[in-house]
Each structure stands twice: as structure tokens, then as C-alpha cells.
Symmetry: C2
Subunit: 352 residues, 2 copies
């Protein structure tokens, strides 16, 4: 169990440690035959570099670029990821990790490629990104691939890339959880309304997955014969929300619960509060501040969380382990689905 050192390899191979190092780091200038011999012995002895020594010597800081949508009051969800990244960097304390953030507006699709170019110029050692815009993200990933820069996806997954890993929510399962909660609390004779608020281009894929899980739950359990209606709202403006909601609730008075598929549950909560519809069971996603305040008031009954803080922290950790120890992570990692109720919202899972 004793640590194998570069020196041990050198001795066994009959070369100097400098040569071993050159081989191990592909710094060239080594005779092919020596190269092979050293590599063979290193593998045989199961050499693992001592990252403490590496860190001490190299003093080389790992540069990470983080590409995320810009978070704001109305879209506070994206404010959470930088917290997680900060936390992870702090955890990695004694090692040098430099993070540079690149934020783009979800409303301006053409800003995205500008940011990706800035990242390329930044010459990062690794990238963490939320690839909300599929096509542009795909291009960017190709560019990173060609430069051998590893990248980790957060929140959204894109096929046909060589991402190191994806960290996100199991959106389908999150939908099933929402369904289970409503099913448990809502009288079985009552109906359900699904509200999709998609003002921007953001993440409709995740919303769809959630809704599919939600519907599957009821298809599976089969016993209930609830009506399930869907309402799409394009704007979060109060007049439009009010108009749409008034109309559907009047025409379907048997609706007893509302699920909001995205993070903007607070918009519907505000409506219900205004209408004094405290009897309505409201369930939504994401623990943003606005949502939490309605949860605490009792207007939102449950929030389903996906732990964005932890996701972001994991992404940093994964990238770091890969950069320092060439540790290959599982390609997909789902964060557990979190159920938040008024009574357990107090101790936010900010950990640390």
C-alpha cells in the first residue's frame, strides 16, 4: 500500500527521474524505447502521482471558465450556481483554482457565441456550462474538443458531445414526485392544472420531461380518474396571467391543484394570493427566493428542488479531479430530487 514514487519507476527503468517525468507528461524528447519501458513500468507499479507534491511544486492554478445564464430577480434560479461554485473552490482551498464567470442573457441568443469566444481566448483548463442553446453549445463543444479542453454540463444535457460529465436533475422523476405529492393531498375527485410558463427559450426540454413524468405517474397508478388540463402562458405579466388563469379556472371549476412546470411558480402564487384562493394546492419547482417566500406564506404547498448549488459544486469537483488526477467521472450524475415544504424550508440545504 506504500506510495509508488517517480523515483521508484526511475530506478526500475534504469533512467533518471527527469526522464520518467518527461514520459509521464508527454513532454517529448524521449527515445521511443525508453518511453515504452517507463510507461510499462509505471502501469505495472500502478503509479499515481502524489497530488500534494504536485500542488506544492507546480503552483500552477487551474483555470476554470463557467458559462451560465445571467441570474436576476425574476430568474433567480441561475443565481444559485455561482454559490455552489464558490463553495467548491473554497473546499479545494489549498489547491489553486481560478474561476472566471461568463454570463449570458437568456433573452439574447446572439450573446451566447460572443461569450464562448471570450472563453476560448481565456484559455481555460476546463469549462463548466449550462448548454441552454443547443446548436450554439454544440459548436462550442466541438471547439473545446479540438483544443482538448474538458467540459462539464450543468442542468441540460446535449447528445453527441464529448462532455466529461453531466450533472443535473432527473427531470422525469421530479415530475413523478410532484404528481405523488398532489395525488396524496388532493381529493381523488378533483382535477389538476399544469401551467407552463415559458417566456424565453430556456430549457423547455427539462420542462417537457417533468411533465411527462407527472403524467406517467397518474397513468401508472391508474386508480384515479382526475382530469388533467394544461395551460401555456407566454408572459409573466400580471394582466396576462390573470386573464389566462381566470378563464381556465372558471371553465374548469373542479380544478383543485396546480402544478407549475418551471421555476416561476411565484407568478401563479401571486395570482392565487390576490384571488385569495388558499384552498388551491400549488406545487412547483426550484427554491428561488420568491418561490420560498410564497412557500413560507403557505400559498405554495411544495417545491421540488434540484439542488443547483450542489450541482455546481459537483461540477467543479469533477473537473478538478479530472485535471489533477485524471479521474474519469460517470458520464451522468443525477442530483436527488428534493421535496421542500414550509416546515423544512428553514434550514436551506446550503450545507457548508
Amino acid at each position: 500500500m506504500k506510495q509508488v514514487r517517480i523515483k521508484d519507476i526511475a530506478r526500475k527503468a534504469g533512467v533518471s527521474i527527469g526522464t520518467v517525468d518527461r514520459v509521464l507528461h508527454n513532454r517529448g524528447e524521449v527515445a521511443e524505447s525508453t518511453r515504452k519501458k517507463v510507461l510499462h513500468i509505471a502501469r505495472e507499479m500502478k503509479y499515481r502521482p502524489n497530488i500534494v507534491a504536485q500542488a506544492l511544486k507546480a503552483k500552477k492554478s487551474h483555470r476554470l471558465a463557467v458559462l451560465l445564464p445571467h441570474g436576476s430577480g425574476d430568474n433567480a434560479f441561475w443565481l444559485l450556481h455561482p454559490q455552489g461554485i464558490g463553495k467548491a473552490v473554497k473546499e479545494l482551498q489549498p489547491f489553486q483554482v481560478d474561476v472566471r464567470y461568463f454570463f449570458y442573457e437568456l433573452t439574447r441568443e446572439n450573446e451566447f457565441p460572443v461569450k464562448t469566444q471570450e472563453i476560448i481566448q481565456f484559455h481555460p483548463d476546463g469549462v463548466i456550462l449550462a448548454p441552454v442553446f443547443k446548436k450554439e453549445s454544440g459548436k462550442f463543444c466541438k471547439e473545446l474538443d479540438s483544443r482538448g479542453i474538458p467540459y462539464v454540463f450543468i442542468d441540460t444535457y446535449i447528445d453527441e458531445t464529448h462532455c466529461l460529465a453531466f450533472i443535473g436533475e432527473d427531470a422525469y422523476q421530479a415530475g413523478r414526485v410532484a404528481a405523488g405529492l398532489i395525488d396524496y393531498g388532493l381529493n381523488s375527485s378533483r382535477d389538476i392544472l399544469i401551467v407552463n410558463i415559458a417566456r424565453n427559450l430556456e430549457d423547455t426540454e427539462n420542462l417537457n420531461l417533468r411533465n411527462r413524468g407527472f403524467l406517467h405517474y397518474f397513468a401508472d397508478t391508474g386508480t384515479s380518474h382526475r382530469g388533467i388540463y394544461t395551460l401555456d402562458i407566454a408572459s409573466t405579466g400580471l394582466p396576462e396571467v390573470e386573464k389566462s388563469m381566470n378563464s381556465i379556472l372558471e371553465s374548469h371549476p373542479n380544478i383543485g391543484a396546480i402544478l407549475v412546470s418551471g421555476a416561476k411558480t411565484h407568478v401563479i402564487a401571486r395570482y392565487l394570493e390576490m384571488k385569495e384562493r388558499r384552498d388551491m394546492i400549488l406545487v412547483g419547482y426550484e427554491l428561488t427566493e420568491k418561490n420560498l417566500s410564497f412557500l413560507k406564506k403557505g400559498i405554495i404547498r411544495f417545491l421540488i428542488g434540484q439542488k443547483p448549488v450542489e450541482q455546481a459544486a459537483r461540477a467543479v469537483k469533477i473537473l478538478f479531479d479530472y485535471l489533477t488526477m485524471h479521474q474519469i467521472p460517470p458520464r451522468q450524475e443525477y442530483q436527488p430530487v428534493e421535496i421542500i415544504h414550509k416546515e423544512n424550508a428553514g434550514t436551506p440545504n446550503t450545507g457548508e
Copy 2:
């Protein structure tokens, strides 16, 4: 922002680095005047040792002793903590952390002091313990104090000790969460039964706190006039459980939900399964395997978790940070209360 080195202090103080080191580590053999000067300069320059260099040189592994109840099939809760400890140690990878486990039987109170003596002889650098037996634990802590060995409590907190930290559940809040879940799903005309299964001496304090939170919830929300009954069961044997349960459910047919205050919810679940009482809402604590299997069958409706794996991991981290960097943690740290439903039990929060 540049790192202050021991060398910088030495230069400024006009002494050698060896002397600085002696002062910093209280290894004596230093003139008082030198000592003061060095200490002053170190503070002034905000010296923080480079733990990477320390780790590289010292090769000194930190010895941690872990004192926990012995986990078993029937008391699987305590099997979870070692997992968390293993995880944390793995995270601390490049640094040397040696863990030695000391398990005691909850049924044999006199085994506890034997184990504590073994720990003293082990000469640990730090201790993590679940101080289930108050009095004996108190004695042990005094002994650790006198030797200057830091210790962290898991699960149970004891006053009047100099513990470095306590990591645990907010039991009161966990009780409120259980209440909120039952209140949400149970018709407001129905009554509730609280079952306490306390075969051993274990942790009645936490159970009491949970029950207090549970009752306070209903007192606070005030609107409902549910009857709330309590049943104490001393054994987990099927005959006794059956007898007690039959009797109370017959005399109180309006009971529609059962809360089990401890980790042995599976005992009541087994009873309900046998009686085919699938209408009964059953809520309990702790994600042990047996509980989880009844959750998945739909017999247990919700489990309230306290993340024992994460708790144990945190304890290791806290102790390590204290030992290596003299980082003083907050004295109490509550892990968030976790709500687990059939639909989010699949992705266990084992994290990695």
C-alpha cells in the same frame, strides 16, 4: 494576496526558520522574547500555514477514532454513518487520515466505557462520537478535554462539554415536517396516532423533541381539531406490536394516520401490511433499508430523513479542518430535514 511563508516571518524577525517553526508549534526551547516577537509578526502578517507543504512533509496521518452504536439489520440506522465517514476520508484523499472504528451495543450500557478506554489507548488526534449514553459520555469527554483531544458529536448533543461541534438533525423541526405532511394528506376530521418504539435506551431525547415539534405544529396551525393519541411499545416483536395496535385501533377507529417517532417504522408497516390497512397514512423517520422497502411498496407514505451519511462526512471534514488548519467550526450544525416519498427514494442521496 501572496502567501506568507515561514521564511518571511523569519526574515522579518531576524531569526531562522527553525526558530519560527518552534514558536508556531509550541515546541519550546525558545527564549520568551523571541517567542513574543515571532508570534507578533506572524499575526501581523496573517500567516496561514500551507497545508499542502505540511501534508507533503509531515507524512503524519491524522488518527481519528469513531465511536458509534453497532448497526445491524434491526437497527440499520447506525450502518449509515460509517459510509459517510468512508466517503469523507476518500474525499480527503491526498492527505493521510486513518480512521479506527469502535462500536458498542446499545443494549449493553457497560460496554460503552470499555470502548472509550480503548479509544484513549489508541491515542487519537480527534474523536467522532454519538454520545447516546449521557453520563458515560460526559466522563469520556472530560478525559478527552484533559488530554486536549478534540471531539465532535454526531446525532446527540450533550451540554456542558467542550465539544468542537455537533452535527445532527433539527429533531424539533423534523417533527413539524412530519406533522405538516400528515396534516396535508389527512382529512381534517380524522385522528392521528403517535407510536413510540423504544426497546432500548437509545436516543429518547431526539424522539421527544420530534414529538414536541409534531404537537406544536398542530397547536400553531390551530384550525384542526384532530385527536392525537400516543402509544408506547416496548418490543418490536410481532405479537406485542399486534396486540397493542389492534387494541388502540379498535378503540379509536377514527385514527387515519400513524407517525412512528423513531427509526423502526418498518415494524408498524409490517403490521399494517399484514392487516391490509393500506388506507392508513404511515409516516416515520430514517431511510434504513427496511423502511425504504415499505416506502416503495407504498405502505409507508413518507420518511423523514436526517442524512446520517452526510452528517458523518461533515464530522470528519470538520475535525480534519480543525486539526490541519485550526479552523473553528460553528458549534452546532443542523443537517436539513429531508422528505422522502416513494417517487424520490430511487436516487438515494448517497451523493459521492
